[in-house]
Subunit: 229 residues, 2 copies
Amino acid sequence: MNFSQVTLFEGIQEQDCRAMMDCFGVTLRSFRAGQTILEYGSGNSLVGILQQGAASLVRVDRDGNRTVLEHLGPNSVFGELLAFPCVGMDSMWVRCEDDCEVAMLRYDQITKRCERACAHHSRLVENFFGLMRHKAMALSERVEVLSRRSIREKLSAYFLLLSLKNRSKRFQLPFSYSFLADYICTDRSAMMRELRNMKEERLLQTQGREILLYPAFFQLTGSVDKRLE
Amino acid sequence: MNFSQVTLFEGIQEQDCRAMMDCFGVTLRSFRAGQTILEYGSGNSLVGILQQGAASLVRVDRDGNRTVLEHLGPNSVFGELLAFPCVGMDSMWVRCEDDCEVAMLRYDQITKRCERACAHHSRLVENFFGLMRHKAMALSERVEVLSRRSIREKLSAYFLLLSLKNRSKRFQLPFSYSFLADYICTDRSAMMRELRNMKEERLLQTQGREILLYPAFFQLTGSVDKRLE
DNA sequence: TATAAATTGTTGCAATCGCAACAAGTATAC
DNA sequence: GTATACTTGTTGCGATTGCAACAATTTATA
């Protein structure tokens, strides 16, 4: 949430960016919704930084179960070198949800000694460092949700998180309910059932993908709804 | 697994370390098994790097459920600024499992411009960068396990992972079975039951905390047991 | 606009899981 | 060396969850 929104070229003059992109071997690429940016498991050492759009790291196991391992937004970093190697018969890839703009570079380029001694070299490394902190927090958030023991607790943890990010009891789901089920790693029908129960218990209300949390929700989760509209 | 084992002062001469530690405000602290290194939720901006020993980031929710969010070994980085803020009535802290040696510094010290212009300043930032990559992979590994849908799948994913790290079908659990249950976020008795089932199906064998995976285990998970002793 | 694909919503039923409770064994602390 | 805490192992039972299957609706595509 209170990510100091660092971007890759933060604090670097427009005119220097071009030169630095050459130096680091950064390429900008565009992808359309549905396209695959990277396929993991091939030993690819490319690292991507999402500049625009949304994407997700998806795993499909040998039984065909789809799992959304990470949901990526602007300034998210991804790449095989930053993920646990996929094992067994699973396949993993980063797929665009919307049209995306991605900056890509080879991992080993990041900390290499710069022959041309760009003035802003170390600044870029520091920026990248900030992006890595962003990623650690995003993954930690992921663990926060997945470590909950029941569907209700997972939903609650995720909804609370979205409401904090939005500073509001009312917020929009960033994706479909089917997708949400794969994100919290449960069966969709079981999730829908639990969601219905929560509505019947007056914990929340939904209207399409807009969700409104009632005071009872905050009581139950032991969190505060002060400061939130 | 194939972490290029970067340490904080990697590539920096012994004699320079002292000066740099002053410059960055790094302090070395020792903790005994069972002691708490950091309590999260207080807005503490300290970052720790485990030099020796093992520790874990533990959450206890308002119902008293204990969850092991992260298991930390040498060169693991931790700190409130690298984790999702704990919400609601949960409490979180980093606790030593063994006697530990920890290097601690303030987060904002890491990328600050160095007035004294230490020769190795940028090298240290790069090293820290490597530690952050290590952390991203560790968290990703955590998601890999927790995203599995059943106890059996979680156990399998974790065991496979340990066997890969050990390059062997035979390996030692790094903690107790009670702890393991909190690590894979399930009920201990249910986990023990599933473990028994797996033994009866000749997927594996245990002797205390030593586990041996049978060929049938690798067949079932669709992974290879070549290369492994 | 017609057609296909994806999403939402629902249900019965069986499998899995969590909980409570207990007993035996092992390590640790005083 | 005895008490205490922790760990391992087990069970019955009820609650939760996953699965299969289906229908209705919305969204995307030709």
